[in-house]
């Protein structure tokens, strides 16, 4: 469908060009996509989101942009740094709206404060990282969308995965906003199975020595840790647990896959082994080809995201552009919505986001609807486990078992 739209747009451009005696080409107008991310707070997340948006925009512009009515448009990406600060996110939202942005792509920082500002102008916001429950609600926040796994989905998938294994799970979370939100979802997910919970404990974010907390968890009889926290907390907890000789399995949200953890534990690669994280799957049933194609485009444009560690046989480890995929997909959904609305008016485009589906970079269908503004359904949450600094889908979960591993090394 999208190809047809591009083809028609291309033909329309061609026809318009032929009609002019001077042969002069229409100057394309610019449609602004604002990217509000924590460039200085969480550089990896900021970079991957920005590059995903930029890659999609570049592909579209390289193909001649898009034709809406009698005008042609190219996408322009404007970057704003929110420093992981809600106040800065509000300032950025105001600036983006003044710049005429048709949408704001964000990691999720400050959305509780920015969505109303954007809504007044009919502008959509798309979160492509934070899975916080309550950030997205199709009825109360009709202009907020998300393409990223939700905390709710991850928590319930973990309950579904861990409880049948008869593990005694210590539910740990750090005291960051991310940790607190995740802890609330995990508590709900395990509420019906208190026998599966050995301990609930909050960890101080930013503390490098979590040995006392790990000793306490071990004393509680825990046979598994589900830790919801920022990458430094996970690295510190892993380090503490392994230092006291506790080889307990760790389960984490997507932050467990952050390169930071492997970088911190590069001297003890075996400590990372067995770390399991949950995230949105990067491949669909059609196989790895769509994602591999996206990854090669991404690497051609920006280079591979190197983790900075090596496998035991000396191969450099790469980070697959998972979150770049989400922002890349959103731009495609946005373009489909503009085509569907036959307008670039933000309000019409936002409404049309409910009515379109595109094929995502991983081969899955990507889109929203009037009842759900979540672009990653809970069923798409899979589990991956580290071994030798790279991860692969776990074999003991029905969905994960169907997924092929993604290539993560380069010689």
């Amino acid at each position: 469908m999208r190809r047809i739209a591009f083809l028609l747009a291309g033909l329309a451009l061609l026809a318009a060009g032929c009609g002019k005696s001077s042969g002069a080409k229409d100057a394309a107008e610019h449609l602004v996509i604002a990217v509000d991310v924590p460039v200085t707070g969480s550089p990896y997340v900021a970079q991957t989101i920005r590059q995903g948006v930029a890659l999609a925009a570049s592909n579209l512009n390289g193909g001649g942009g898009m034709r809406v009515g009698s005008k042609s448009y190219e996408l322009t990406v404007k970057l704003y740094d929110n420093h992981l600060s809600a106040r800065r996110a509000v300032q950025n939202a105001r600036r983006a709206l003044e710049a005429g942005a048709v949408t704001i792509v964000t990691d999720g920082t400050g959305v509780d404060a920015t969505w109303e500002l954007a809504r007044r102008e009919g502008v959509s916001i798309c979160i492509t990282y934070d899975g916080g429950t309550g950030l997205v609600d199709a009825e109360t926040r009709p202009n907020v969308f998300r393409i990223a796994p939700t905390n709710h989905g991850i928590a319930f998938r973990y309950a579904e995965y861990l409880i049948p294994q008869k593990l005694k799970v210590a539910l740990l979370a750090d005291d960051s906003a991310y940790g607190r939100e995740g802890a609330a979802d995990v508590t709900r997910a395990f509420a019906s199975n208190p026998e599966a919970v050995a301990l609930r404990l909050t960890l101080p974010a930013g503390q490098t020595d979590l040995t006392p907390q790990m000793l306490r968890a071990r004393r509680s009889g825990a046979t598994a840790l589900l830790l919801w926290g920022q990458p430094p907390t996970i690295a510190a907890a892993l380090s503490a647990a392994r230092s006291i000789g506790w080889d307990v399995p760790f389960y984490t949200p997507p932050t467990g896959g952050d390169p930071f953890i492997r970088q911190q534990l590069a001297d003890h690669p075996d400590w990372v082994d067995g770390l399991t994280f949950a995230s949105g799957r990067m491949t669909a049933e059609v196989g790895t080809a769509p994602f591999a194609s996206f990854q090669s485009q991404y690497e051609a444009a920006y280079g591979a995201d190197r983790v900075g560690v090596k496998t035991s046989d000396g191969q450099a480890v790469l980070q697959p552009p998972e979150f770049a995929m989400y922002s890349y997909d959103f731009v495609h959904v946005l373009v489909a919505a503009i085509t569907h609305a036959a307008s670039v008016e933000p309000e019409k485009v936002t409404a049309a986001l409910n009515e379109v589906t595109t094929q995502g970079a991983n081969g899955d269908e990507r889109g929203f609807n009037r009842h759900s503004h979540e672009g990653v359904v809970d069923d798409d949450v899979y589990f991956a486990r580290f071994d030798d600094m790279t991860f692969a889908p776990v074999p003991d979960d029905p969905l994960s078992a169907t997924l092929p591993p993604i290539q993560q090394t380069r010689g």
Binding site: M1, A284, E285, H340, R370, H371, D379, L399
Partner: protein, 393 residues
Amino acid sequence: MRRLLAAAALALAAPAAAAGAVQQVLLPGPTPYPTPSPPLVTVGPPPWANLPFRIHARSEQRVLAGVDGRGHLVSLRVLQRLLLTGVGDYQFVVSAPVEDVRPGPGSQSQPGLRRGQILWSGFASKRKLLSADAVLRPKPAEPFLPLRLEGDTESGGYTLRLENTTVTSQAAYTGAGFRNELARLLDRTRLESLAGSRLSTAYVELRGLVRATRRTTVAAPLHVEGKLRFPERPKSVVGGTIRGSTVTFSTVLGDERPLNYRLDVRGGGGAPRLHLVARPTAVVRMLVPPGASSWVEAVRRRPLPAKALLQRVLEARMQLVRSDQYQAFLNNPDVAGRNRTVYVYKTAAASPGAATAPSRPRSGDGSGWLMVLLAAGGTVVAAGAALVGWAHS
């Protein structure tokens, strides 16, 4: 499509007839259906579907038709339960003139809503229940309900008229069949009908020329049970039974019975509250063997004409196909999946679904929205398959 099939049949038959050869001709069923809807089809973006072959879906539906005192449709709601079995991804839409949809009881996933579409997407791990409670716009869906009601409150009484609205016509054919084989086909059709299973594909052997006959009227047999609750105890009733202030009735519309039913009540003290359940049902009467326990035995006892047997098997199977068609008011993404639909008509105030309908009005959802009689993909495929099968027979 039907004309095409008939023409193809005659074209194929001609050389065979010249040789006086015996040929196998496809009998009706399990598909194609004689009309494109039901299941409901709507205008909208092309539905995308991904139900891999290893996932199967069983559909159970309860259609709740709210009617006013005169029997006119005022609201429509469908509870569809899709039970998926198998492992893998699923992504599909169910087309309908849907106003709103919510998860139904026990649903293990949330239905999405777009203009004219209920969306389902996720991963099935062996078993998954998708349950949708959908409020539909009555006007575009009404022509595809199987029953029309008309209630009249006259001085001193009440009359209810029911009409089976599944009637359509279909091209049939005739030819020189073989009595014993036709009897076996009738027995097999009867067995499948009584078991409530979908017809399996069957061929009949005919010698010589196959001729198209005039179109045959076909209707899905409907089993109807009703209850009318009056303000006072009625004095008398024709067509039902009085129990206190309630009149009950039960009938089958079709299957060699009339397609209309009339209930006359005297007294009752005013308009009743109606509760009526209609189910597409099996063909029974038409397939009862005359004076024997089976058609094979009946043919053994007396020489029933082969032409009449052929006509009977064709018409019975057409009725069963029509009945099967009404078992899926909303589409089942698994074309081979089992479908069951119960149609419930109840006295209701206008738009009882308003409680669950969104409060915001939606532009572009006007009542002039059109239903399009497009052949469903499965129908087309099945028709094509039938033609190919015929051509290779």
